[in-house]
């Protein structure tokens, strides 16, 4: 119909929040729609477009056999595949099941477990198909989401800064909550993107954007646990929306093993 790029938005196991972040671009939505043909976006449109897609945004993690097949189809039909959000990039909160006994989870939760067809793990998209870019966040930041789409439209490489949350704290003049209030904060090991909102609201960062570049959670945890923060408090902090990101899950494991010793 036009030389617009065709956009597909696909959802796997997730909360919809990352897709909503696209609809939350109130100021940019219409302008974007002029440049992108929204070919498949169940949450926003009744048109169920068939592929191929120039750009696909994929939200959610893979946790069922059917989804495992579907993501392969999406990949096949997409020129550029961008995963959005913690679910898609690291498994999300539902990846907490990965370490636990799946059987027990289903039994504990569903009266008729036999109706439930689900995989034992919730895994990131990149574990199953090649991904062109991973946009972090739980949820993703609307500005970043719009920016990467615009960059892509203009033929620029998709990228976002991968430094720590701390840098953004300092840029906005937020006083460090760890140093000045003794609150545990994952900011030093978490990738920026949210605007350092948690420390601004006087609470510690809980890691929505996943591990920052070459992050060092082990050192941070060693320091915190040596300064009156019990392991029982630190482990859940690492086991949030990016619990399955290797840097976080390894640090949690180390803490637990250290505590057992």
């Amino acid at each position: 119909m036009s030389n617009k790029l065709r956009l597909g938005v696909f959802k796997f196991a997730s909360c919809d929040g990352c897709q909503l972040s696209l609809l939350n671009a109130e100021d940019e939505l219409l302008a974007l729609a002029e440049k992108l043909e929204i070919a498949h976006f169940l949450e926003a449109s009744s048109i169920i477009g068939a592929g191929p897609f120039d750009v696909s945004l994929v939200e959610g993690s893979i946790s069922t056999e059917a989804d495992l097949q579907r993501i392969k189809d999406v990949r096949r039909l997409s020129k550029t595949l961008i995963t959005i959000g913690a679910c898609a990039t690291s498994g999300g909160i539902q990846a907490l099941r990965n370490g636990a006994s799946y059987e027990e989870f289903v039994r504990a939760v569903y009266p008729s477990p036999e109706f439930i067809h689900s995989l034992e793990t919730a895994t990131p998209i990149s574990q199953h198909v090649p991904v062109d870019f991973e946009l972090r966040g739980c949820p993703v930041n609307t500005k970043q989401l719009v920016q990467i789409l615009v960059d892509h439209l203009h033929g620029r490489r998709i990228r976002v800064p991968n430094h720590s949350v701390c840098r953004d704290c300092k840029l906005s003049g937020t006083v460090c909550v760890t140093v000045a209030r003794g609150l545990p904060c994952l900011g030093p090991v978490t990738q920026a993107g949210c605007g350092a909102i948690c420390p601004e609201f006087t609470r510690g960062c809980y890691g929505c954007y996943g591990p920052a570049h070459q992050s060092n959670p082990s050192s941070l945890m060693a320091w915190l646990s040596g300064h009156q923060h019990p392991v029982e408090q630190l482990v859940p902090l690492l086991q949030n929306f990016n619990a399955a990101a290797p840097a976080f899950s390894n640090a949690a494991k180390e803490l637990q093993e250290g505590a057992r010793r």
Partner: protein
């Protein structure tokens, strides 16, 4: 210049009033977010009177004191660089018109700022940044405007924190130059030194009495007491060469194991000046602004050349920071880049102490 004056404590508001009347926006220590930070004040009531700070590596708390002094603390998480070299600046703008792009250089409206409560190490830090932005081949005109427009009221430290090592860096605790006015807070008022004709003009109408010998003695005692409180030391003898001859030392690995590469030390450091200019296009890309933000040598992208960072591990990035600050800064600017304020030690989330690291890497415990 003129001989020292005395400002009775009850008349401190007059000094503030005078500055406001001259059109200055007065920036001073205030309490916010459980810390002593710099922001605009309207009255002396906004100062952290009766408060002090407690600092250790990776630790900072404010607490009330038993006295009602205005300046009984050291330096907090902010430094004056946030006013002279703001964290976020608009540098230029490109506008797309019929004949293609046109370019504008942006400059912020000059604001007259009066900094109240500048410590000796901070005066030193300003001079260091002057060298970076004013004395090189290129002048940062925005910095120049802000620097020249600001009025500096220094305050001599009456206490030192365990993280202060200004005596090693020869930057304090006594304010010697670089101020318009310098205050020393005594029991009943401020011992005032005038450091410039601008300072003279400001203080003149307050018709202050000359300080007495007793004031002078109390001030001297206070300086001596503060010096004696400075407990941290860095051996700076030949430090540049000691560090530069240890660049391949295995001990950098040990600090790299603890360093989070989180950028906090560089952000709080009053002399660090790294920045990055990035593009901020409007959605239709007809107006593109270029924005300069504080950056840090701890960020991986900082040295990326064709996608691959030159300093591709924490070890090389920590080494860059420490050796730049304490060694290569000498080569570039003729002095050390560190003023011994201790901020990087206090605000490191895992309490890494550069003085300890220097000793570990190239010895020289003093």
């Amino acid at each position: 210049m003129t001989s020292p004056l005395f400002l009775p404590v009850a008349e401190l508001p007059k000094l503030l009033a005078r500055l406001l009347e001259l059109g200055y926006k007065v920036i001073a220590p205030t309490i916010d977010q459980e810390a002593i930070v710099y922001s605009e004040i309207q009255s002396v009531e906004d100062l952290p009177r009766g408060w002090t700070d407690e600092q250790e590596p990776g630790h900072y708390r404010i607490k009330p004191t038993s006295n009602d002094r205005y300046f009984d603390y050291v330096v907090g998480p902010h430094s004056w660089k946030k006013y002279l070299f703001p964290p976020l600046q608009l540098i230029s703008r490109a506008i797309s018109g019929e004949e293609g792009w046109t370019f504008e250089t942006c400059s912020d409206a000059p604001e007259q700022l009066a900094f109240l409560g500048v410590r000796a190490c901070e005066l030193a830090a300003m001079k260091i940044q002057d060298r970076v932005f004013l004395d090189g081949a290129y002048v940062d005109t925005g910095y120049q405007r802000r620097r020249e427009g600001s009025f500096v009221i220094a305050v001599n430290c009456s206490v030192a924190s365990p993280n202060c090592f200004c005596t090693s860096m020869n930057s304090g605790p006594r304010c010697k130059t670089g101020f318009d006015l310098a205050l020393t807070e005594l029991d009943d008022g401020m011992f005032v030194e005038v450091g410039s004709s601008r300072g003279q003009d400001v203080i003149e109408p307050l018709s202050l009495h000359a300080a007495t010998t007793q004031h002078l003695n109390s001030a001297e005692n206070l300086y001596a007491r503060t010096v004696s409180q400075v407990s941290k030391h860095l051996n700076t003898d030949d430090l540049r060469n000691r560090l530069m001859s240890n660049l391949n030392d295995g001990k950098w690995d040990s600090v790299a194991e603890r360093c989070l590469s989180c950028t906090n030390c560089t952000m709080v450091c009053p002399t660090c000046f790294c920045s990055h200019v990035s593009e901020v296009p409007s959605l239709d890309e007809t107006v593109v602004e270029r924005q300069r933000k504080w950056d840090s040598c701890f960020n991986l992208e900082f040295t990326a050349v064709h996608g691959t960072p030159v300093r591709n591990d924490v070890r090389s990035r920590y080494r860059q920071w420490l050796t730049h600050k304490l060694a290569t800064w000498h080569d570039q600017f003729g002095e050390s880049g560190c003023v011994g304020c201790g901020r990087c030690i206090t605000w490191c989330p895992v309490g890494i102490d550069l003085t300890v690291e220097v000793n570990a890497i190239c010895g020289g415990e003093s």
